[in-house]
């Protein structure tokens, strides 16, 4: 590794490569301290280690490079100089002559043979040159502390270090905390069986790690409590009976087999054949339209995880989520949902903003939904198309929830009527309204059981998406004189009978001769069809 003083500045840390020597140093550090360390603390240890190495290498380099060039100094022939402004080139003075410039007064010119074989002339004995004022000790980064480096590059360093640590086997990880495997306190099958019994008695959990340690009477062992917690967390993590359901930095355990069925298996209404993410090839307005529908099927994990946190959001319910009692995990909702480093399931709590009653729910990250809100939707008389507000609280796993305010009255709303043969008819009927709603996505469902039967029957004989789209277009086109159907109306309605991603629906509309786009996101059935 070549290290020059200038590399202590940003390019050095931006281009840092973590090698086996670094990992060995961190392992030794953890052996010495005997305490599990989170990734940000390990990053700090790494930066301090690298700064020590840099200081050593810089000292030896300075000794080799000779004097740092300053125009005000006078140097004899044969002096070795280094030139910080020329990327630390070094060279030896071969000759010196008087400078000649009536505008610059008296000075000398030194001819220097540089290490790359070229020769250049430099001014010396020149007190008025601006380079004399440059302080290279500050520019080299010697003043930078490890803390300030971690503050600036912490996220990048942590990501790199995490990847490097994941690739080795001597250190084990719980969440974002690491420790040598060989120093773990042994947690035997007996303790894990008791842990299962404890969680069983709590109807599955959740239970925090400190409380579980007390229940298992591990705290009386006299071991370092942090090491004990780490070892127990690790043993629970390696045992498939247990599921970590806490938010980032907060370990909380649940018995996997007692988790709600809709956590373990995606509810029927949220199951989808297609998963087309929104294509980057779409024009801006179509992209925005599909994006605004906030459908979890439209987004990659990366899109969702990149969401910036915010204090509150508003969400429009679709039929599948309304029926399943769920919410999508999308770039929008993820702004208020808590994060978790390891677990795909997080136990959370919503607080009804009006009644202050808690609602227990689960975020199922890998399947991109939050489940457990069915009773609350019914209690609030919500329907598909209703708008819900969600706000963060100071507790990461707790959010407040409320329907968008609206005076209760009756409105003309698309209403789904289920025929005796299972066929669906859409009609505009006056329906009681209890919350604010999106007019295009609002759909009243008077016969939930009838629609449930439709979904059950379609499990065995499911028509193609194109067939369903044609049926739905035919139904919806009857609701206005022009027989045009807006994409959002169609999206909301098709999801009443099958879980459909916006992109899959758009693909059908744009690729089939039976439909044509009449503008402003309205579609029409062609004469041919």
């Amino acid at each position: 590794m070549t290290v020059s003083p200038m590399k202590k500045n940003s390019p050095y840390w931006e281009k840092l490569e973590i090698g086996s020597d670094d990992l060995q140093y961190l392992t030794n550090h953890l052996f010495e301290t005997e305490e599990p360390l989170p990734i940000n603390s390990l990053s700090l240890v790494l930066v301090n280690h690298r700064l020590q190495l840099l200081a050593k290498e810089e000292a030896s380099r300075k000794a080799e490079a000779g004097l740092t060039y300053k125009p005000k100094e006078s140097y004899p022939v044969g002096t070795r100089l280094s030139f910080p402004e020329l990327d630390m080139l070094t060279g030896v003075i071969q000759s010196i002559r008087e400078g000649d410039n009536p505008g610059l007064g008296n000075f000398q010119v030194a001819t220097v043979e540089l290490e790359d074989g070229t020769s250049k002339e430099f001014a010396i004995n020149m007190p008025g040159h601006p380079l004399n004022e440059v302080d290279y000790s500050a520019a080299s980064g010697e003043a930078q502390s490890a803390e300030s480096i971690v503050k600036t590059y912490g996220r990048q360093l942590s990501n790199q270090l995490r990847a490097a640590l994941d690739a080795q086997h001597d250190l084990v990880r719980i969440g974002d905390t690491w420790f040598p495997r060989s120093l773990l306190i042994d947690i035997g099958p007996g303790e894990l069986n008791i842990a299962e019994a404890v969680l069983d008695s709590l109807s599955g959990g959740p239970i925090g790690i400190e409380e579980l340690m007390e229940q298992l009477e591990l705290t009386k062992s006299g071991e370092n409590p942090k090491l004990l917690a780490f070892s127990l967390n690790y043993a629970l993590q390696e045992d498939t009976r247990f599921d970590e359901v806490g938010t980032t930095g907060k370990f909380s355990w649940f018995l996997k087999r007692l988790e709600p069925a809709e956590v373990l298996k995606t509810p029927l209404y949220l199951q989808s054949d297609g998963h087309s993410l929104i294509s980057d090839d779409l024009d801006d307005s179509t992209y925005q339209l599909l994006d605004s529908l906030d459908d979890e099927l439209s987004f990659s994990d990366e899109d969702i995880n990149d969401a910036e946190a915010s204090d509150s959001i508003f969400l429009t319910l679709t039929y599948p989520h309304w029926r399943a009692g769920s919410m999508p995990v999308t770039p929008l909702t993820n702004q208020v949902f808590p994060t978790a480093l390891e677990s795909d399931t997080i136990k959370v709590e919503f607080i009804d903003e009006q009644s202050k009653q808690p609602i227990s729910a689960w975020i199922v990250r890998d399947k991109k939904y939050v489940i457990g809100l069915r009773e609350w939707y019914e209690e609030k008389n919500l329907m598909p198309g209703s708008i819900i507000g969600i706000k963060r609280t100071k507790e990461p796993g707790v959010m407040t929830i409320s329907p968008e305010k609206k005076r209760s009255n009756k409105e003309w709303v698309k209403t789904v009527l289920v025929g005796a043969d299972g066929g669906l008819v859409f009609a505009l009927l006056r329906q009681p309204i209890s919350a604010g709603f999106n007019e295009r996505m609002a759909i009243a469902i008077p016969d939930v059981d009838g629609l449930d039967s439709v979904w059950q029957n379609r499990q065995t004989k499911s028509p193609s998406l194109k067939t369903d789209v044609m049926r739905m277009m035919t139904e919806l086109s009857k609701l206005n004189n022009q027989h045009h159907v807006h994409f959002v109306d169609l999206y909301a309605s098709i999801n009443v009978v099958r879980r459909t991603a916006p992109m899959d629906l758009m693909n059908i509309l744009l690729s089939s001769e039976e439909f044509f786009h009449v503008g402003d996101n309205y579609f029409h059935i062609t004469e041919k069809a």
Binding site: N101, P102, G103, V109
Partner: protein, 140 residues
């Protein structure tokens, strides 16, 4: 090689700068004219030199020495940096010329010059955009 005059008529967005090579080739009095812009200290130093084309120029960033015209170098890197170099109420051509010396001869259009010398852009254009070239100030 000298840049040929442009056939395009300059407008308010045409960039101008001092074309020293052109000026040297067209005006035998260019050197005396330039010396008059030096600060008193340097004016005395340069008065006794008739040719300034191969002096030691020192790079202000690196300290490297190269050969070149010390008069222009001193004017741009020293005298033009002084606070009293551009004086209010000076003739328009003088003000424009000094503006280019003080900004390392970076090209500017008449709108940009107008904001610096506080004269209407149209007046500046009619002065330096005409057939007569003052002090080597030409379209870039």
């Amino acid at each position: 090689m000298l840049k040929k005059p442009s056939l395009m008529k300059p407008n308010l967005s045409t960039k101008f700068a001092i074309d020293f090579d052109w000026w040297k080739s067209q005006d035998q009095n260019w050197r005396n004219s330039l010396i008059s812009y030096l600060c008193p200290e340097h004016r005395e130093n340069f008065a006794s030199h008739s040719d300034n084309s191969s002096f030691d120029l020192v790079n202000p960033q690196t300290g490297e020495v190269s050969q070149g015209d010390a008069l222009i170098d001193t004017l741009i890197n020293h005298c033009a940096k002084k606070d009293d170099f551009i004086t209010p109420g000076a003739p328009l051509v003088d003000s424009i010329f000094k503006t280019f010396l003080s900004n390392h001869n970076q090209p500017l259009n008449c709108e940009e010059l107008s904001k610096i010398v506080h004269k209407p852009a149209a007046t500046i254009l009619s002065t330096i955009g005409g057939f007569k070239v003052y002090k080597g100030i030409r379209p870039v």
